[in-house]
Symmetry: C2
Subunit: 240 residues, 2 copies
């Protein structure tokens, strides 16, 4: 029996409640998609930070030679940073062997909200099946949909629901209200590129010229890898 709690925004998370759980952070558009893509392209580690000032300080202390500053505000690359938050930017040429300090609006907040969990992994549509395999067998699972500026985001909720659809085939779930809701959503909607383009986050990205990012993030299981965060550093999960 897997007890599942789903938080529909990062702000709903009570950090005191995640101890003893396996936590999955979901930010389809785009933070966790970018983390997956960065690690797939050979980045050594991703350091999530909240403020851009903190990102700059951390990058300086890690050493600017092999550290890239990545991040967005209102969708667009932060001025002076090396990369934004578009998954397609994270190519092998750019990121292989590098450390990435990443400052994003909602995704970072979600990672830090669950840092007291026993295990923290990242999921997106790009690594959905691998993420489901990684948490299979957990007794207490916490899904955190990053949401958008403190509000519900359909893309994250659908990704959470699809994850639970995989898990409920493997064993009985004990879902809370929000887990039941995200499961039910997957019976009404598929997170296709067309649907993601219609979500609030999708519309906002198209408005700033990042339509291709939305299409990219819709591709299912592009990578069979799992990002895992320990001590605020995200690396490839061990055993992969």
């Amino acid at each position: 029996m897997m007890r599942v709690r789903t938080f529909l925004t990062a702000t709903e998370v009570d950090p005191g409640e995640v101890g003893g759980s396996t936590a999955v952070v979901i930010d389809v558009l785009r933070a966790t998609s970018s983390v997956v893509e960065a690690l797939a392209a050979g980045a050594r580690a991703v350091y999530p930070t909240v403020s851009s000032e903190e990102a700059i300080r951390l990058a300086n202390s890690l050493g600017r030679d092999d550290t890239l500053l990545c991040g967005e505000r209102k969708g667009l690359k932060i001025e002076g940073f090396d990369l934004g938050n578009s998954p397609a930017e994270f190519t092998t040429e750019r990121v292989a062997g590098k450390r990435l300090v990443m400052s994003t609006t909602n995704g970072t907040r979600a990672f830090l909200a669950v840092e007291d969990a026993d295990r923290v992994i990242a999921a997106s549509l790009l690594n959905l099946s691998a993420a489901a395999r990684a948490v299979s067998g957990a007794e207490r699972l916490v899904l955190v949909c990053s949401g958008r500026e403190n509000r519900f985001s359909l893309d994250d909720a659908l990704c959470a629901g699809l994850l639970l659809r995989v898990l409920e085939k493997e064993g009985e779930l004990e879902p809370d209200d929000a887990s039941r809701a995200v499961l039910a959503l997957t019976h009404a909607h598929e997170p296709t590129a067309d649907l993601l383009l219609e979500t609030g986050a999708g519309v906002a990205l198209v408005a700033v010229g990042l339509r291709d990012d939305v299409l990219y993030c819709a591709s299912r299981d592009r990578h069979a890898l799992v990002p895992e965060m320990r001590d605020r550093v995200i690396r490839l999960s061990e055993g992969e």
Copy 2:
């Protein structure tokens, strides 16, 4: 075209964003169900307050002769109060002609979060059809699911979805992510008594001996009335 925004918890509401809208507050288990029941039983007005201290102060200034103190903490009646928050308590014998000062955990917070809206009404399953009629034709609609202690509650989300199901038959909706989600939920779940008993709020009420409240709140369209809040006082909507 009706633009619809749904907030899945009261804490998600940005009070600055509700101006110019018609707002619907939903707390199926149990605040808005109780408000509907109280007005149906002839209560003159309901005054939502956050703290029990504020409730006592307000009741004293209104005059204790024709004012009842109502409210709950963790589901149970506040000590020294006249009534709790069980809809079935609000009988004609007890409340007809009275003012009710009501302090509840989540519902009150939702009412106050949208007090800057052009119009604020209360919906529950007990007055679902009447509530839908009352907001039909609004150009900008805001639905606020009270939720439970800052978290998603399935009963409120289903009630919101059913309201939108009625409204989408009458004209085109322009739903945000959360509005699409609550609509989708209604295709997977019906808010029957059995389902309400399985929700987080339902389980908590059963645990404190209030199973009958859950059954009561599940009955659809028991009353064709609409509570409306003006200047923090909830009365029967005019024209009824």
